[in-house]
Symmetry: C2
DNA sequence: TTGTACGCGTTATCAA
DNA sequence: TTGATAACGCGTACAA
């Protein structure tokens, strides 16, 4: 037979090949491979030698089929290209690796039906558990699979219509702290430049902003639904060009923060003298910008890590049966754009 | 028996359950599920109804075991938290999804032995193919698995010691173009601030820089091995504080670019009047910085997409047998930090 | 058109 | 201690 190209696994060495070569039964070879103690030392050495020589590696698929666990988990994110998510994904991958699990990555692009399909595919692939950043809306398949016994951990946002473990960030408190800081600087007209209003994180941050204003007995002044740098820029211009404009801005995500900075620049205003600014969500360049940018930092790596650990707690039977909710604190990184003096913070 | 918690797949519905419930043979149920035409219409309807009611979904693991292809590919990157890689990963995931394949994500942290281990694990999981951003050094396992028939595509950098398909970026030409642009602006002392010198991409970019200087009959002036913003800052300070300092900088990656900007700022110099700067590698804020930052953009999404498509070409038996090399062009995004007038480019 | 028997590569059961 | 045999869930070959 000619040496044709055969797609697929190639002619991999199987346990049978090892057994044949070593002159033992398949089961004995299996025992050696799995390091079971009940095997004659000399024979173990002989089999091990054959394993080495033939380059045998167990077929994980067959193992999973038999063993009823795939040692694989699924991750469905809304957008891996978002640096925040990428950091989460990296942390999750690390935890999965520590636990001997592979990680299947899926990107729903924040689309519910795509997410739905992915959940189905992952279930078909027999993943042992699922980590996801839920898209907005109720995911029927997710609910069904969870009910059927699939462990699910939602992170960054809770899943709608399904009670799952969740690991979140203190969006409200972080936003409140940032707003309070601006108020502490003496600002009385503090505006909120926010993302799409039905996003979970956007809502929470708006709540925090409102809480701070209310506590200080000030009037809220917000604009919402800016979901790009351009829209953030437009929204900010609208605020600043209105009569009696704000003297401080809280930009509720990275896009609106950048848009706000551009708008301020375009209008010939200066940060922080004319308009003070605080953002939400970290970015590499925050301390390279001038003035250095003050923001609320989210613990991205820890978010991913804790989410993954929560899932493995479930898989390994630890913890209470009812769904857990973990909320991680944010950190206000005070630099200069809020009006604080230079040199206090990197 | 009590309804205890059983980790694992739960009691999933199998084809047998469907067959039993519908009163047909397993094979008939299988036919209906796979949409084979040779089946009685009425019976097909009955089986489909049972499938629906029981919520049956085929076990992809068993399918793979039988079919000798897992419909899974592996991706090993050196650092997913790098925004550039995250964009690549997103593109790859999209292509995998289009081809009905799942994507297992591994992060080698640029460590050769970690990469080696991952390649082994992926092979054990019977991935149909492998995409990787090779760490520096020769990976024995990679070579072995490729020889055993595993299709491999390296991207962003070629793999050392193994002949594989590769999809790369025009590092040298991009760097040359950027340097030429600075020379065109009239600079005669153009310095190179570079990454770790044995990195493939760093070497290529240095080559391009040198080519441009040589063509203009100028003296090269480079500093290397800066692998963080801080080191880039230090290196740049060293260059600018020396006698007869450069009037232009080519920063060969994003970290050295940011470091250079900080150094310039700290020394009280202005961009581009005192020092012109061009960077390599795109970042979100490049057009938010003032002056707007000129850089060489790498086609991250296309890099990932083409790499994945190259792999599927192999899997689907298209293309020539010998290893292919594809090199994608970069794009010089001219803004202001190079000395060009404002308003020419976004 | 439908069903039976077998195999994919592994682990589990039980007897030798 | 070792090995024959039966699963795991599905698809293929062949027969009915």
């Amino acid at each position: 037979m000619p040496d044709t190209f055969t797609p697929g696994f190639g002619n991999r060495i199987t346990l049978r090949d090892v057994a044949l070569e070593a002159g033992v039964s398949i089961k004995t070879a299996s025992r050696v491979v799995n390091g079971e103690p009940t095997v004659n030392a000399a024979m173990a050495v002989r089999v091990a030698e054959v394993v080495e020589r033939l380059g045998y590696r167990p077929n994980e698929l067959a193992r999973s089929l038999k063993g009823r666990r795939s040692r694989t988990i699924g991750l469905v994110v809304d957008d891996v290209s978002n640096p925040f998510m990428a950091v989460c994904a990296q942390a999750i991958e690390g935890v999965a690796q520590e636990h001997g699990h592979a990680l299947i990555l899926c990107d729903s692009h924040a689309d519910l039906s795509t997410e739905d399909a992915y959940v189905g595919l992952l279930a078909q692939r027999q993943v042992d558990g699922l980590l996801l950043v839920p898209a907005r809306g109720r995911n029927g398949r997710l609910k069904a699979e969870q009910r059927a016994g699939l462990p699910v951990v939602a992170f960054d946002r809770p899943a709608e219509g399904v009670r799952t473990d969740s690991v979140l960030v203190e969006n409200r408190a972080g936003a409140r702290e940032a707003t309070e800081h601006l108020i502490w600087h003496g600002h009385e007209r503090v505006a909120f430049v926010g993302d799409v209003r039905h996003y979970y994180t956007a809502r929470k941050r708006l709540d925090g902003y409102k809480q701070a204003l209310k506590a200080a007995d000030l009037e809220p002044l917000h604009t919402l639904d800016a979901h790009s740098i351009e829209q953030g820029e437009e929204a900010t211009k609208g605020l600043l060009e209105a009569p009696d404009p704000p003297t401080a801005l809280f930009a509720a995500n990275i896009l609106t923060a950048l848009g706000a900075l551009r708008a301020i620049e375009d209008l010939g205003l200066r940060v922080p003298d004319d308009v003070a600014v605080i953002g939400f969500d970290d970015f590499e360049l925050a301390h390279v910008l001038r003035p250095r940018f003050t923001l609320v930092r989210q613990p991205a790596a820890e978010l991913g890590r804790r989410a993954a650990e929560t899932l493995f707690d479930r898989l390994e039977g630890r913890g209470r049966p009812e769904p857990q909710r973990l909320v991680l604190p944010t950190e206000l990184i005070v630099r200069e754009s809020c009006g604080c003096a230079p040199g206090l913070s990197p």
